[in-house]
């Protein structure tokens, strides 16, 4: 029996041990596999449009691809000095995501893998455990600690880390697992380098789009980005805004608890970028460019629709590029589901109606972050019909990201049985 399971057989009674950051992902997500078996095992396709690397464990592999020798030297020195993610502008003492250890998967992954020394293999093996047990066919991978990189005052660091991460993904990770896909991180502080990355990596079949990590103070409607958006529009792949937390934003420094900042910060950045995107009429200027708004839940969407519709009717002269109401442009855009605000289901149903969720909403897990959603967050919604659930869980994403509608995940019962066999072997 593998040590990490920490389970033992007591006659017919089996003891399950405490879940920690070292727990195998399959045991952590065992209940999710049971949900898959009961609720959506027959669905044709499940796509998770937002899951994450925990770069801390894989940072030395990523730094191998650092193309600037001075920065690489600096990073390796920091690494040798015990800093887990050199060059990343996050303060370790301000990291509260794991709820002070209450949610252990946020602090991992510390589980053991079969081939820890082969670059990329640990990440791929752990990611595969999660998609097999959540019952996911394809997963789109985003970084974690790089979500704040747009605020790094050293803009060359953003460029070189973006390139190193992208090369690690394309050259090391993606070739090992066709069910994993990723996006190009656009280092928006240097538009020439963004365009270079689009040219260099944009055609990779497992690169399904481009991402703007939204924690930044660069207005996304600035003229310097128009050529970049044209290139992306031409590529046919979507532009994905990924929100994030940022406690240093001046208004947020009034908030004295992480929960307060976290509740507002993700939404805040999407509100700002979406408002600029609409008021400056970018949907009219780039009618074929598809945009996706990630990791802010959905409650903010009807708020902004109402608010902008109201203002545009009164102040048309300040948004003269619009030919339709803001809410209509927003209804053409795509949104990821997590963290789905499920407390008031009536309000959630009205939100789904307003945003046309059955065609525009994309399931996302955000695994392995503390507020992840399994696919059951969608399948257990009482007001959705079966087709809407199938669309949100996979078919909408297949259309958007041009993924084949072909089952690649194991049957949930097989995944459960394989793990059960491992547990007693």
């Amino acid at each position: 029996m593998p040590d990490e399971l920490k389970s033992s057989l007591v006659g017919e009674v089996r003891e399950l041990q405490e879940i920690t950051a070292a727990t195998d992902t399959r045991d952590y997500l065992f209940a999710a596999a049971r949900q898959a078996q009961r609720q959506y095992d027959d669905y044709e396709l499940i796509v998770d449009v937002d899951a994450h690397t925990q770069e801390g464990r894989f940072w030395p592999e990523i730094l191998e691809f650092m193309e600037n020798d001075v920065l690489k030297h600096t990073a390796l020195n920091q690494l040798a000095g015990g800093i887990r993610t050199p060059l990343i502008n996050m303060q370790p003492g301000m990291s509260f995501q794991s709820l002070s250890g209450r949610v252990p998967h946020q602090s991992g992954p510390r589980e053991s893998v079969s081939n820890p020394d082969k670059p990329g293999a640990a990440f791929v093996e752990i990611a595969k455990r999660s998609i097999d047990f959540m019952g996911v066919d394809y997963q789109v991978i985003f970084p974690t600690s790089m979500l704040h990189l747009g605020m790094n005052p050293m803009d060359d660091v953003e460029v070189y880390l973006a390139r190193a991460y992208c090369r690690w993904m394309v050259e090391v990770v993606l070739p090992q697992e066709p069910r994993l896909t990723s996006l190009i991180y656009l280092p928006l502080n240097n538009v020439d380098q963004c365009e270079r990355m689009v040219r260099e990596f944009g055609n990779h079949p497992q690169i399904v789009g481009y991402t703007i990590c939204a924690v930044r103070h660069k207005p996304v409607h600035h003229n310097q980005y128009m050529r970049l958006y044209s290139m992306i529009e031409e590529s046919g792949k979507p532009l994905v805004f990924h929100a994030g937390p940022h406690w240093d934003d001046p208004s947020f420094t009034q908030l004295n608890r992480f929960i307060s900042m976290h509740a507002l910060s993700f939404v805040h950045y999407n509100l700002i970028h979406m408002t600029n995107w609409i008021i400056n009429a970018l949907p009219e200027r780039f009618p074929k460019l598809k945009t996706v708004w990630v990791e802010s839940g959905v409650a903010w969407i009807p708020f902004l629709m109402q608010r902008l519709d109201h203002e545009v009717l009164l102040r048309q002269s300040e948004a003269p590029g619009l030919k339709r109401m803001p809410s209509e442009y927003m209804q053409d855009m795509y949104y990821s589901s997590q963290p789905l605000e499920r407390y008031d289901l009536k309000l959630l149903e009205a939100t789904f109606d307003k945003m046309k969720a059955s065609t525009q909403l994309l399931f996302s897990s955000d695994w392995p972050h503390w507020d992840f959603d399994p696919p059951s967050s969608i399948t257990t919604l009482p007001f959705l019909d079966d087709q809407a659930k199938r669309n949100i869980l996979g078919l909408n994403a297949a259309k958007l990201f041009n993924l084949p509608i072909k089952r690649t995940r194991p049957r949930a019962a097989d995944a459960i049985a394989a793990r059960a066999a491992d547990r007693v072997s």
Binding site: L16, E18, A31, R102, P104, W370, S377
Partner: protein, 123 residues
């Protein structure tokens, strides 16, 4: 309904917890202040393995008589089980969420006889 012996009471620390799986049903058994409590290992949030998380005292807002706050303090009386999926906390004695008491774990009957612990499972 069937009653199952899950082992000796002496194997528990106080406070302490063990989680058992019997025939597909999972039950968390807790010892706190000399009393045993048992709850289904199924979180009311999204069915996560609630009983396999950490045991931590309830965090409280320490408000003075003049309504100023001293910040947060751990309770000396209340101990919670924390669901490891997303962090929901439940009082070990009542199974209820500290803020919204309507959100709670499902109770499992538990008793001790001749030093052995018995839980009653659904049929």
């Amino acid at each position: 309904m069937s009653e199952v012996n899950v082992g000796p009471a002496s194997s528990f620390t106080d406070p302490g917890r063990k989680v058992f799986e019997v025939g597909g049903q999972e039950v968390g058994v807790f010892l706190l202040g000399g009393e045993f409590y048992a709850w289904e290992n199924r979180c009311p949030h999204l069915d996560g393995p609630a009983c396999q998380g950490r045991l931590l005292p309830l965090a409280t807002e320490a408000v003075n008589a003049d309504r100023t706050s001293r910040g947060r303090e751990f309770s000396k009386e209340h101990m919670n089980i924390v669901c490891p999926w997303h962090g929901m906390e439940f009082d070990i004695r009542t199974g209820r969420h500290p803020t919204n008491q309507a959100i709670r774990l499902r109770k499992v009957p538990v008793r001790v006889e001749r030093g052995e612990i018995y839980v009653t499972l659904r049929a």
